[in-house]
């Protein structure tokens, strides 16, 4: 199975809205050993000017990986998930994610580069609120290893 080179430039429509909950922020913060009080205590978050609990800097990965899942599940893409290696990741925050946000992500396949029998795919998730406010851009490259790679 090989990667479809025509994926480049393809977009996938916004996923189902993701509701950012307080307990999810607390759970994710504990999981990445983030200790700042703004992830756990609404009053502390308010003291820093946030409307509610603030998500840690890599929280957007939850929303971005849901968007990526559409691509991986697309039979036309030809991606064998067991051969995927995460190569790089970037988050650009247009504003912090806080509890109560309802987020959607539109996925863009920015590049597909053949690497031997495998391929390096770069995707970009444009994350916004359901009202259209830009929240974050997550750019991710995955290496899909070919046979023997």
């Amino acid at each position: 199975m090989s990667i479809n080179p025509e994926l480049q430039g393809r977009s996938y429509p916004a996923s189902e809205p993701y509701q950012v909950g307080r307990e999810k922020i607390r759970e994710f913060a504990r999981a990445v050993k983030a200790t700042h009080a703004a992830h756990y205590d609404v009053a502390e978050a308010g003291r820093l000017g946030y409307a509610d609990l603030m998500a840690p800097p890599t929280f957007a990965v939850i929303v971005a990986q849901r968007a990526d899942a559409q691509l991986i599940a697309d039979p036309e893409a030809g991606i064998d998930f067991t051969r995927v290696v995460h190569a790089d990741q970037r988050f650009t925050h247009h504003r912090p994610i806080v509890a109560g946000d309802e987020l959607i992500a539109e996925l863009h396949v920015d590049s597909v580069r053949a690497m031997g029998d495998g391929a390096l795919l770069t995707t970009r998730s444009e994350i916004s609120t359901t009202e259209g406010e830009k929240v974050a851009t997550a750019v991710s490259s995955i290496l899909v290893r070919g046979e023997g790679q």
Binding site: E27, H36, H39, M54, V61, D88
Partner: protein, 143 residues
């Protein structure tokens, strides 16, 4: 929080931290993030795909390493851009009552941007003396 851009210099050390990682941490991260790839919790599966054993999620290491930056700046919302390349896996051994891997994180100021009032913190993240994240950079807004 009272860090002023004018008081910062390129090359300045912002500190260091040690991440002790156990198998339980990987299970917790899998649940919190929704990334249940078995290479992060199933030894048999990890070995069957030619890994040295269960490895940490790259996103776990990325997510935990930035705590050093948050501690320094005092506000996680100040991190407006954060990126890394994942270059080496971090195998996490299954040891009772003890960390299965120890990752070292250090940070220095890599660049200052007075026009945008931002500082770039360059993180060095190593396991057994070898870099596991490369070009790990966090851009922080200095209020």
């Amino acid at each position: 929080m009272s860090i002023a851009l004018s008081e910062l210099a390129t090359g300045q050390d912002i500190g260091s931290s040690t991440l002790e990682i156990s198998r339980a941490d990987l299970v917790r991260y899998a649940g919190a993030s929704g990334d249940f790839n078995p290479i992060h919790w199933n030894e048999r599966f990890a070995r069957s795909v030619d890994l040295p054993g269960v490895i940490a999620h790259g996103m776990f290491t990325m997510g935990a390493a930035v705590q050093l930056v948050t501690d320094w700046i005092g506000d996680p919302g100040a991190v407006i851009d954060y990126q890394t390349r994942f270059t080496r896996p971090v195998p996490v051994e299954d040891i009772d009552g003890k960390a299965g891997a120890v990752v070292e994180v250090t940070g220095v100021i890599g660049a200052l941007d007075a026009d945008n009032s931002t500082a770039r913190v360059d993180l060095t993240v190593t396991f057994n003396g070898q870099k596991v994240l490369v070009k790990a950079q966090a851009v922080v807004r200095i209020w």
